[in-house]
Amino acid sequence: MNPFSSGTRLRDMIRAVRACKTAAEERAVIRKECAAIRAAISENDQDYRHRNLAKLMFIHMLGYPTHFGQMECLKLIAAAGFPEKRIGYLGLMLLLDERQEVLMLVTNSLKQDLNHSNQYIVGLALCALGNICSAEMARDLAPEVERLLQFRDPNIRKKAALCSIRIIKKVPDLAENFLNAAASLLKEKHHGVLITGVQLCTDLCRVSEEALEYFRKKCTESMVKLLKEVVNSPYMPEYDIAGIADPFLHIRLLRFLRVLGQGDADASDLMNDILAQVATKTESNKNAGNAILYECVETIMSIEDNSGLRVLAINILGRFLSNRDNNIRYVALNMLMKAITVDGQAVQRHRVTILECVKDNDASIRKRALELVYLLVNDTNVMPLVKELIEYLEVSDQDFKGELTAKICSIVEKFSPEKIWYIDQMLKVLSEAGNFVKAEVWHALIVVISNASDLHGYTVRSLYRAFQTSSEQESLVQVAVWCIGEYGEMLVNNVGMLNIEDPITVTESDAVDIIEIAIKRHSSDLTTQAMCLIALLKLSCRFPSCSQRIQEIIVQLKGSLLLELQQRSIEFSSIIEKHQNIRSTLVERMPVLDEATYSGKRAGSLPATGPTSNAASLNLPNGVAKPSAAPLIDLLDLSSDDVPAPSSSGGDFLQDLLGVDLSQAASLSGTSQAPKSGTDVLLDLLSIGSPPAQSSTSTADILSPGQDNTSVSTLQRISSPSSLSAQGSSPAQAAPMMDLLDGFSSSLPVAGNGLTYPSIVAFESNSLRINFDFSKTPGNPQATLIQAKFSNSSPNVYTDFIFQAAVPKFLQLHLDPASGNTLPASGNGSITQSLRVTNNQHGKKPLVMRIRIAYKVNGKDTLEEGQINNFPRDL
């Protein structure tokens, strides 16, 4: 046996691993080494045991399994020599954890080593115990550790103190055993022991109310005195960090004082002076000094009220904000976020500096500063703040714009003092970053605009101007198109001119130009184009002179590949051509959208989008609450644009809007369906041939066209509008052509048989489609049986098909095995799977489900995800 071989062999292994060029090579080297180590273990080789374990630790760090070496640790720990024990304990901490049974076996060795005559072996044992101690070991070994708190060597005392922390965290009942020993540690002079002793006392206070009382009574004064000594202590080179004497002890003491002062006015009083001294005297040009200041601020904020100190603390944070070090600004913002609840006024004073941080180079600082600004906004400062933010929006990074835009919109909605200001700011945001504005935000804007009747002219003219400069911003274009469609004549005639406006000259054909540009832009999405078509239809009536030209534009879309556009184009041109007499009533201005119901709906429909959108309810002070005249029809008009959108997530909001409204339709059928000539005709038109007399069910017909048979295609229906008078309301299989509209049928529970529900298309992507059929067992209204049917319209077979679903807490879901895991191509077959859902909030909350589908196409893994919100309401 060569005594020098072992060390080099560890080096050799590391070299070999480092020399590997590929992961496969590395695995091969490791495999070889592991095999050799296993062999050595099974031969019970003693000479190389600790070298092998050292290797295993290295292998473990690289992420390979090493469990087979666990017993070797125990053997090494039981050995007599120091090097063996050292490696054994290192291995114990790295390779094992407190959950393993093997650990039980080590308790005895630990106990012996804690009583060892060699203090370094005691140190090793304490270190290992502090890292991996389990509750049982804590109970067994607590007396040893407690005794070691009084050991002669300070190194052992400090290790024992930290070990005690682990013990009392595992078994809080043991806390009282440590009280006296811990209190005596506070009288130490050795800094290392003091740091750990203070930490032990802090943790004792956390786990035991009794300990907290004890230390509060006995130690508050002495700790204040100790901190005073530390602050005024002469220079101590070995504990000095960047010129500050022992910052760690400072910080530990400040933290302990915080625990003592929290919720106790007397204790807090005692420490006021020293806190003020630390806050004013500590040098702040070094990280260590700032760390102390930061800790001091946190303590001041946590202890009982002293407004003078708090102002001092917040001013320190204010100073931090202009520090050149990113880290300091970062922690200051974090702390201000907490401080704002304690003393909002004091934080307000630093608003300007905080606003500067929104423009910081560091993204994480920007983000925090923006959040803080968001919290700082109130009725009095909203106008200058928003002005600053919008100005910054122009120059900000692309990747920050989304967040900034969302926050600005939210602030504007929440705090706007008047409508004109709201509209102005929103238009600025739309022209600057319209592509980042979320759909619900500009929908809300439209609701506000439609309610501000005295601002219609002003708004449409502003939008016209904005469009000239920022036509690349999608949502600006959408709002502009909608407004021009509605209020086109106000644009042309300068109606409702405000004093602040300059009159502009816009001809009728200029207005149509805008829509034409918008509809022909390459970047326009389906929603925009569909909105343009409606705007054109409206303008054709308002601008008779342009009627011919408008019809030409509309006709161009007859050949659109998108069913929705094609259908609209054909319908609208037939209205313009053949139905002059009803056209004017048909395209009357939209009735005012009801702000109250709308904002309520928004709040309800967006529960999970965080504070930003929750706060975004529309409470504009001078909003005149108009009676909700047939909101259903308006919303349909506006949102039917999105109907063909195939993605299940994209049209979420609109679907939701519709979903909610449909439910209203059921309850309000009397009011909203009151047959008014114009709207009714439109309804009929959209419902493609259902008899107009069917007042309350006509909505149903629009929205459940999937209820007829496959044979009738849409186009045929349009051309022969009377062929469909007999639409049954039985939930038949949906026809593929009508899938587009299918999403809506879900919201309409079929009257009559309480136990049948319309099937829904739960999910649809380019090629994958999931249908849900529902049934309920009589007498158990909470449980629903769902038959899921998956079909694949792509030319490729999907293999390894797995469907997973998740539901919120109030639901329970059980998935039965699927009928197969291969999904044939081109719709030539399907997989079925049944799901049982139990709704504990039956009748209160509708079903909702998140789904994930995994499969392989040509051997390639594919993953699709979605959320199903369109369950029938009363499941």
């Binding site: 070298r51 270190c127 922390i165 750990t196 504990y239 760690f248």
Partner: protein, 166 residues
């Protein structure tokens, strides 16, 4: 409490990993990978703090610092002061530097068990044990001396020849 100390090189290889809260080995590797993923995409001149709630659970903060080819990473919860953790990292690196005189990545690779010993003298069970690098060095030197002594006595194969070869 400190939850983990990691040293990762600029290629993503772990050079030292010490978890003070139990994590199964697979999870450890995953965490190292994701921490590396976050760090190597950080631009320069930004703060040393990273939100790490997704990786390490609520109430966790991550401080990192780059030294030559290595990322030093401390993960800890709200009971530690972020700025002080930066200083502690400095203490750790200074001690390594004293130990290996001009420490470089290779020193850490080949002497990882010594690096562990040093770390164990600074942090114990996730709590700060000692902050003076002089004190830490004293303790580590004592341990080396003991090791050497018992090796000389028993002529047992040396666990870490590199210790003595320096």
């Amino acid at each position: 409490m400190i939850k983990a100390v990691l040293v990762i090189n600029d290629k993503g290889k772990p050079r030292l990993s010490k978890f003070y809260e139990f994590q199964p080995p697979e999870k450890q590797q995953e965490l190292i990978r994701s921490v590396y993923g976050v760090l190597c995409s950080r631009p320069e001149n930004v703060s040393n703090f990273v939100q790490s709630n997704q990786l390490f659970g609520l109430d966790s903060r991550l401080v990192y610092k780059t030294f030559a080819t290595l990322y030093f990473v401390f993960i800890f919860d709200s009971s530690e002061n972020e700025l002080a953790m930066l200083d502690l990292m400095q203490v750790f690196v200074e001690t390594l530097d004293k130990c290996f005189s001009n420490v470089c990545e290779l020193d850490i690779v080949f002497n990882f068990s010594k690096v562990h010993t040093i770390l164990d003298e600074i942090i114990l069970g996730g709590q700060v044990l000692e902050t003076s690098s002089t004190e830490i060095m004293k303790a580590v030197d004592e341990i080396s001396r003991l090791e050497k002594a018992s090796n000389a006595m028993t002529l047992v194969p040396k666990s870490i020849a590199t210790w003595q070869s320096r």
